[in-house]
Amino acid sequence: MTFIKSAICALAGATALCGGFAAAAWAQNEQFIPRLVYRTGPYAPNGIPFADGYADYLDMLNARDGGVDGVKLVYEECEDGYNNDKGVECYERLKGKGPTGAALVDPLSTGITYALIERATADKVPIVSMGYGRADASYGPVFPYVFTYPVTYWEGADAIITYIAQQEGGVAKLKGKKIGLIYHDSAYGKEPIATLEKLAQLDGFTFEKFPVSPPGIDQKATWLQIRQKRPNWMLMWGWGVMNSTAIKEAAAVGYPMDHFIGIWWSGAEPDVAPAGKAGIGYKAAVFHGTGTDFGVIRDIKHYLYDKGQGKTKVDKIGEVLYVRGVINALYDMEALHTAHKKFGNKPLTGEQVRWGLENLDLTAARITELGAEGLIAPMKISCENHGGHGLVRMQQWDGAHWKYASDWIEPHHDLLDPMYKASALAYAKEKNITPRDCSKTQS
């Protein structure tokens, strides 16, 4: 079959059909990283800084250490415009590149993550959906190739409620309170609802839903409703233009900003900047620090920006989404490093990287070594748990910078882990997947 294929290919010279326009020769000691990015279209303001941060970290590693453990990193960006079809095309285009194929893929879109889960699992390419995608994919036995670390939307929702309880003076005070959620009416925005409904039941608060149909450029009706129902706290799961519009409308109806908390995708500079002064006091949950005062960011500045390289302007490198891009790359490269210990310092296949991801153990000591102390919290991945049990903290916008508003908060894993498992098993049943037995997959 392969022979026939190559024979026909040779005869027809139909390179276009035979998979790829340029069958470039790959250097043998290079690790290929596919990059699905969106630098154009409606979500570009959020996509650009993230893509810049990721690329800068890889460039910095190449400049500083010659890659990861001596294996040079090469990456290629493919513009998907936050469009699911285009994202799938980008993935298929890039997955076979490099001497060993794609190491892993970061879709940076909940929709694209959903579209890739089956494909990537069949292709043995790990998906790292860092703080987005399917929360129940944290249950490793059903989703061997999907990683959701360091935290999921469900953990985010839970941590925000914990924070609210702290502010109110204890979980008991939540009883009788009203907590609202304004959300992007899509797969992404609906993720936290089940968790919040469960918590409402446990803690005795009333939970109100306020859906906004995408893109969410007009939310007057929603905010009038919120004004009338007067929830004590508002949560937001928004993305793109919806975030800044919501902040502006919240200010227009006089909602107290410090009682308005967004998820991490609703808490960056492009979200608050268009709202101007109205956004002061707005809070958001994050799973990492921000700013430039970290070893790794200083290294990026030193090895790239001081030499006139780097993807963006130097004053943007402390922004929330930029830093998040750096962190995504840092986690990914740490997985490569982990896998190198088992398979040797050479380019790895997706399957080998998957092993590295599953055995990733970021201790406090290692984080300090990486120059990310205070930037990220320790976490450990296992076969059972692809979510890493990371930590969440709150940040607040003061009109010019994001400032921490809380210490690290630990989500209630004892509550959420069984929920992941139940949901993942339902998925497995529908798809005829037999869950792996984790006691047998020892490292």
Binding site: I8, F21, E92, T110, G111, R119, S186, E430, K431
Partner: protein, 359 residues
């Protein structure tokens, strides 16, 4: 020279009414089918099959559906995405409720349900015409997507509202959905569906229904006077069109992406398919294929072409340039032939009759 009808006589009514009356056309048709069913699966890579051929075929099917309604019956529709969603979600509900039902029947039944929904939203066409009719189909578009997004029943109470295709076999033979299905099986299954339905559409538009649709399109009052009932003609066009579009939606969700949320069928999808039939040619089955190829393949070709040039430009610059070139090409093609690619093909054929001796 190569393409000449002189000397070809038709000796029976059957021959006179064949789809392809000229042997050269017949040969071309069979060669195309052979290419599609034999050569492409042998040669094409997984990338080509999964990300180029399958979406192209599904879009072509949806475009045929919309072309029946807009191109043949003259009823402008911006609800294609909504009807695709009906097909996709019905197929999901059917196959999860009745796992034993063969996927072929699941898809056909989903098409029927979409047809029924199409009839309901087609009712206002009896009174509203032209661009204003777009409102009825837009209402369908926004309402249906909202409905599937809002009612968890449609996605079997999945927390995110995403439906995923379970593994199913076609005619009990070979698995065509789910992660395990081979790309070739998926491709051939889609191609078979599209080929059979396209052939059926070609015959339908040549028959009594097609004639009544075209009469309504050209002038509905005149059509009514010569005895065509607008009610039957318009609603049958809505039904047949939605049937095709519904099946395309089911194929999209089950064969192409494997998992979709309702928003995958939003208004952008409707516009995309409308562009296909205008560029390809209104009122032409061939045009539906050509238009689908233009709208889906050209951006990928531009993208790959730009990449192959190896210009040292960032991807966003490249993407913006591609958008500009794509827009320019649309205008260029329209100026070259406003009646679509299908008409361009026809003109080409007429030239071929004389070529290479034009005098």
């Amino acid at each position: 020279m190569l393409y000449r009808e002189a000397g070809q006589f038709k000796t029976s009514y059957a021959a006179d009414q064949a789809i392809f009356t000229i042997p050269q056309d017949r040969a071309a048709f069979w060669i195309l089918l052979a290419l599609g069913f034999i050569a492409i699966p042998l040669v094409a890579s997984e990338y080509v099959l999964l990300t180029i051929m399958i979406p192209f075929l599904v879009f072509a099917l949806a475009a045929i559906g919309l072309n029946i309604l807009t191109g043949y019956a003259g009823q402008l529709s911006l609800g294609t995405g909504g009807f695709m969603a009906v097909g996709a979600f019905t197929a999901y509900k059917l196959t999860t409720a009745l796992p034993g039902l063969d996927i072929v029947f699941v898809f056909l039944l989903s098409g029927l349900v979409a047809a029924a929904v199409g009839i309901v939203f087609g009712l206002p066409s009896l009174r509203i015409k032209g661009f204003y009719l777009a409102v009825a189909t837009l209402a369908a578009q926004f309402f249906l997507i909202w409905l599937f997004n809002k009612l968890p029943w449609f996605s079997n109470y999945s927390p995110s509202g995403v439906i995923g295709a379970p593994p199913r076999a076609a005619l009990g033979l070979v698995t065509v959905t789910g992660a395990e299905a081979s790309p070739v099986a998926k491709y051939l299954f889609t191609l078979a569906f599209v080929a059979i339905l396209a052939l059926a559409a070609k015959n339908l538009v040549r028959g009594r229904f097609g004639r009544s649709w075209m009469a309504i399109r050209d002038m509905d009052i005149a059509a009514e006077i010569i005895g065509i009932r607008p009610l039957n003609a318009k609603l049958s066009a809505f039904a047949v069109s939605s049937f095709y579009v519904g099946i395309a939606g089911a194929l999209w969700a089950f064969i192409y992406t494997g998992g979709v949320e309702a928003l995958a069928f939003d208004i952008d999808r409707s516009f995309q398919i409308l562009f296909m039939i205008i560029i390809g040619g209104l009122g032409s089955i061939l045009g539906s294929f050509l238009g689908a190829a233009f709208i889906t393949l050209l951006p990928i070709l531009l993208d790959r072409g730009g990449e192959a040039l190896g210009l040292p430009v960032p991807v966003n610059v490249l993407t913006n340039l591609e958008d500009m070139i794509f827009g320019g090409l649309i205008i260029l093609f329209l100026i070259a032939e406003p009646r679509g690619l299908a008409r361009l093909w026809q003109i080409g054929k007429e030239k071929l009759r004389l070529w290479p001796f034009p005098h």
